[in-house]
């Protein structure tokens, strides 16, 4: 295909004026930040805050997908490969008892992040340039295959990956004497990471490379014609996104206490797309809201409506897509500009 057609067009409805959009985004950001601060006051040091902390990390993961898909138009169907893949690297490095291993948590996380980035680089090198130069659905198929293969590989990895059962972590989330493994401290860690990732990515998408990335989504050929090295930019964005996804994923699964093949698999890769679509593609904040809302909905409904909860969640999703085709916060999407 010659031009990139976004699968679900963000801002398909007439986008509001830019100034207004900027203002409404500020409002949403402030409300979001406010909720992040209020939540621990209301929930205290409870299981609920622990759960919310987990959703915040998933929200950060959703943002990494949004940068690639929502902003860059690269339809990634395998992002769990980075999210869970890095966690696997951390699990292996911190639990295996041979040679220099086990490593402490943070060096292992660093290696996990590098591994996720390297995987993204390799995918980028293979798909974005050269003879293949895959776009759109073709790229989606490649990422899907990576995620699928990785899940199979983890399943078949014997004692290295723990096979179907996966690996139980020996390490906890701690920085020196500071234990961040559960509840309120964990929530704080997750909230800090989410906010930092949000503002970091916000900066990125409005900066030069980010705008080129956006341009590629709109018209890849024209951007190339302008002299930008499209494959390099796409690869760079994918690597950045994968590294961040790997970092967040490592912490997420250490907190879980276990990583198993589903973590890198197709289901996980698909689920994150739902959060992004629900919240609004190409908005960063939308995927955050989508991830938190959908997970809260699932967690509460699956207990209250045994057996039928999946139907209810499905109906809610369909309703949202029908009435808000560009997601709950789709009105915030559109061409970005320098602030």
């Amino acid at each position: 295909m010659a031009t990139e057609q976004p699968i679900l067009t963000p801002g398909a409805d007439a986008p509001p004026r830019r100034g207004l959009r900027l203002q409404s985004r500020r409002v949403v950001e402030l409300v979001g930040l406010g909720l992040l601060v209020v939540a621990p006051v209301v929930l205290g040091d409870s299981f609920a805050i622990d759960r919310l902390g987990r959703y915040l990390l998933l929200a950060a993961f959703a943002m990494t997908v949004d940068v690639v898909w929502g902003y860059g138009g690269m339809f990634t169907f395998g992002h769990a490969a980075f999210f869970g893949g890095a966690a696997y690297v951390v699990a292996i490095l911190t639990t295996q008892q041979n040679g220099v291993l086990p490593l402490p948590l943070w060096p292992a996380v660093a290696i996990g992040v590098v591994a996720a980035a390297a995987l993204a680089w390799a995918i980028g090198a293979f798909t974005f340039s050269g003879r293949f130069a895959l776009r759109g659905v073709e790229f989606a198929v490649v990422t899907l295959a990576v995620s699928f293969l990785l899940e199979r590989l983890m399943n078949a990895g014997g004692s290295v990956t723990g096979g179907q059962n996966g690996i139980l972590f020996d390490v906890r989330l701690e920085i020196g004497p500071l234990d961040l493994q559960r509840r309120l401290p964990f929530y704080m860690l997750a909230a800090v990471i989410l906010v930092a990732a949000y503002f970091g990515l916000r900066r990125f998408v409005t900066a030069r490379t980010g705008l080129v990335n956006l341009g590629i989504r709109e018209d890849e050929d024209r951007v190339a014609l302008l002299g930008y090295r499209v494959p390099a930019v796409k690869r760079g964005v994918l690597v950045l996104s994968a590294a961040l996804a790997g970092f967040v994923g490592s912490l997420y699964y250490v907190h879980e206490g276990i990583v198993s093949p589903a973590a890198v698999g197709v289901d996980a890769s698909t689920l994150v797309l739902l959060w992004v679509v629900l919240g609004g593609r190409g908005t960063l904040i939308g995927p955050v809201v989508g991830a938190v809302l959908l997970n809260m909905l699932t967690a509460s409904l699956s207990g209250m409506l045994l057996g039928t909860w999946l139907v209810v969640v499905g109906v809610v999703l369909v309703a949202v897509i029908l009435f808000f085709p560009s997601g709950l916060f789709g009105f915030l999407s559109g061409p970005e500009g320098r602030r």
């Binding site: 299981f47 609920a48 199979r152 139980l168 206490g257 276990i258 198993s260 207990g303 045994l306």
Partner: protein
């Protein structure tokens, strides 16, 4: 001065009252059991059976006056055949709902995850009721399903007698089949049998050429299978190659609900599990009637997990009544040595926190299983020191 003293006394009184209130409440408050069951996803059959059997037993206990006079409440959470959901729901039940006991889940992976969340992180009680590979050894963890040694030890001599000494081991590539076959091999040798081949395929394989050529090359007398997720296509592949005819079959996983899917390819196949609907003891008949009265004529309790949950609830009641408390460690201590006569026969909780129990052997004939033999008091052979 006087005011301060009065305040002090008031506070002391309040504290004392609160303490009394707390104590009194503990004796009459309902006991709560949380069930983590796969009610959606690939394990729906087993998860549903687990939930139903547990609820059936809990209803019986409540109608019989509860546990030490306290009624039992139950909270079921759907863990969706998903490890992440298992961790989430297990923690929720223990940390937020503060249940006294968690029962479930189904998968081995979820079992690992739940044991970590419930037992290791929170020191709470976890009752796992599924047939599994064995080997879990934790202070407040109990297993009520069958483990490999007890299913395999009495089984091998029968299979050899029936089919011959040469066996091909066929399993899915994960911990349950692998550990089971490690346990099976010495037992086969002790009985003078010979393992002619050992083959592991992915959990859900699409291509069974490897299996077909293994059977063709080794010409085993019988195939001993632990291939739970895609057994029918595996047998179909053998049948297409004309190799199923005359090949003996033994397995330790095909319970009643799974049989219809393979019955056409499994005539004469032997299976060992703690429970089948073919068991005709009064306890088993009564159990099945109660189960179907509660959940419908078509409801079939599955091989191990379902009935394990039923037995587990009754054992829990006895242990709590003996311990006089629901405190996890005390209950765990009281659990060991408890016995119960249920639908599976007589069971006893061993010091390894696994059950010594009766294993039943059936053969597939026509459109169902026929009970062939029952082996009482099978030792789990789990060397777990707690």
């Amino acid at each position: 001065m006087r005011l301060r003293r009065m305040v002090t006394m008031a506070v002391a009184l309040a504290v004392a009252l609160a303490a009394c209130g707390g104590g009194a409440a503990e004796e009459t408050d309902p006991i709560s059991i949380g069930i983590i069951a796969d009610l959606t996803g690939p394990f729906t059959t087993y998860g549903t059976s687990l939930d139903r059997s547990a609820r059936l037993a809990i209803n019986e206990v409540n109608e019989d006056g509860g546990i030490d006079g306290r009624q039992v409440e139950v909270i079921t959470e759907d863990i969706q055949t998903d490890v992440a959901a298992t961790v989430d729901k297990a923690r929720q039940l223990v940390e937020s709902d503060e249940v006294d006991l968690v029962m479930g889940p189904i998968g081995s992976d979820a079992n690992d995850a739940a044991a970590q969340a419930v037992v290791e992180d929170n020191g709470a009680l976890l009752f796992y009721t599924e047939t599994y590979e064995g080997g879990k050894c934790l202070p407040t963890y109990f297993s009520f399903g069958a483990v490999p040694a007890q299913q395999i030890r009495p089984f091998i001599p029968v299979l050899q007698e029936e089919f011959g000494p040469r066996v091909l081991l066929f399993g899915a590539d994960y911990v349950w089949p692998r550990r089971s076959f490690e346990i099976a091999k010495p037992i086969i040798e002790e009985n003078g049998g010979e393992v002619v081949g050992e083959i592991y395929l992915p959990l859900v394989a699409e291509d069974f050429t490897e299996l077909v050529s293994a059977v063709r090359d080794t010409q085993p007398d019988y195939m001993f299978s632990l291939y739970p997720a895609a057994f029918a296509p595996a047998l179909q592949a053998l049948d297409d190659a004309g190799l199923l005819e005359g090949l003996g079959q033994g397995n330790i996983f095909v319970g009643d609900p799974d049989l219809p899917g393979v019955i056409d390819l499994a005539q004469g196949m032997y299976t060992t599990l703690p429970y089948f609907t073919a068991i005709d003891t009064p306890e088993a008949t009564e159990f099945l009637e109660a189960f179907q009265a509660e959940f419908g004529e078509d409801a079939i309790p599955s091989g191990g997990e379902g009935v394990g949950a039923y037995v587990a609830v009754h054992l829990y009641r006895q242990a709590v009544e003996q311990a006089g408390t629901t405190e996890a460690e005390a209950v765990a201590e009281a659990m060991v040595g408890q016995t119960f006569d249920g639908p599976t026969g007589t069971v006893e909780v061993m010091p390894s926190h696994h059950l010594k129990q009766t294993i039943h052997m059936v053969r597939a004939e026509g459109d169902g299983y026929v009970l062939v033999d029952s082996f009482a008091d099978q030792d789990p052979e789990e060397d777990c020191e707690l």
